[in-house]
Amino acid sequence: MEIKDIKEIIKAIDMSSISEFEFQKGDMRILIKKNDEIKNIKFIKEPEVESTVVIEEKAQAKEEIKEEELYFIKSPIVGTFYSSPNPDSKPYVEVGSKVKKGDVLCIVEAMKLMNEITCDVDGEIVKIMADNGSFVEYGQPLFGIRKV
């Protein structure tokens, strides 16, 4: 795989609703994460010859958040994810929003059933794992929250 291919992949993922992408072939592993603004591509083992590819964007600015530290809010139904109560209003929450138990985080809609997803812990939104208007599965994590 060449740099050009990796760039293609980044571009494709950037334009998609995928928030996390992992690819492994031989001794190369590519891990691309979106919402938290970290895009890492690295070889887990040094390749035998020449090019060691390390592309890091904005990685130094943000500390990487370990998933196991986060509390995840999952979707209770299959449906469409809406980040705001209607198209003209602001999202219920953004990365960095402080949330309390009972706060509405988003709506997941199916068959005109509006499911207001509420927070069941106090904390801070660290990750938003679905795009407005995207399709979400049952049990799919929607928000990563750092509990306080």
Partner: protein, 270 residues
């Protein structure tokens, strides 16, 4: 104006619990809001909230619906089903069907369903349904069904004149709201009991029969995306199965239907 308290409708009401507790208001922000408040206070299954005037009646994604005093029906039903959350979206299709059967029985008119939640008469909108679910963790805490129905409005404002219809504007006749409300609750309670045991699959044939878009070419607009195709099926959860022009089948569970000759939310003409 005929009132809609339990005393007023009990002679027509055959239900065991739905509508046996009624909050009847002259004015409310929205009946769903009041029902939600009551649900949070622990009021049991089957409560209904009726308002003659809604100042913040809402359709999907915050769209407004204005209810004229005494002419329409704005009612919310509180349910506390002990079922998986994934089954709950089907409840919208269920109450649409129950309402169609009830209003057909009372009026004899060809009321149809515009998938999944609107009632149609003469290709215009007769009513709509908005369901809201509240969870506690991954369990259903309660569901509130909001139903809005045009009954005795003589006429509509210029901007919705071509797309809205009432039983009266269609026929010139006045209808008794007490009977219509009671019949909807009667049909719905029966259907809901079966639904909890057998799911929506028990009702799918009837839903197809009364669907105005079945077998038709439509578009479904969902946010910024649009899918075109022919409606070839409605599945056992109420999902729409579209056959697209490349021959693929696509399952749709969200979005607004656009069909030629039928009102839609994007235009004030048919």
């Amino acid at each position: 104006m005929e009132k809609l308290t339990l005393d007023d409708i009990k002679e027509y009401l055959e239900t065991k619990y739905i509508g046996r507790n009624i909050i009847y208001l002259d004015k409310a922000t929205s009946t769903n809001d009041i029902a939600k408040e009551m649900a949070e206070k622990g009021v049991p299954d089957g409560l209904i909230v009726i308002a003659e005037e809604q100042t913040k009646g809402r359709g999907r994604m915050g769209r407004k619906w204005i209810t004229g005093k005494g002419e329409a029906l704005a009612v919310s039903i509180l349910l506390r089903p002990d079922i998986e959350p994934n089954l709950c979206p089907s409840i919208t299709s269920l109450i649409a069907l129950s309402s169609v059967k009830a209003i057909r029985k009372v009026t004899g008119f060809d009321i149809m369903i515009k998938w999944p939640n609107d009632l149609v008469l003469n290709n215009r909108k007769l009513g709509g349904i908005l369901t809201e679910m509240t969870m506690e963790g991954m369990k259903v805490k309660y569901i509130i069904i909001g139903l809005g129905l045009n009954i005795n409005q003589e006429d509509f404002d210029e901007d919705i004149k071509n797309i809205a219809v009432s039983l009266k504007s269609f026929s010139g006749e006045n209808f008794n709201r007490r009977i219509i409300l009671s019949e909807i609750l009667n049909f719905f309670e029966r259907d809901y009991e079966y639904f909890k045991r057998f799911g929506l699959s028990y009702f799918v044939e009837d839903i197809k029969k009364y669907s105005i878009i079945f077998g038709k070419e439509i578009s479904v607009i969902d946010g910024y995306k649009s899918v075109d195709g022919t409606v070839v099926d409605i599945d056992k959860e109420g999902g729409l199965i579209l056959k697209t022009s490349d021959g693929n089948l696509k399952r749709i569970i969200s979005g607004d239907v656009i069909m030629e000759g039928l009102y839609n939310i994007y235009s004030n003409k048919i």
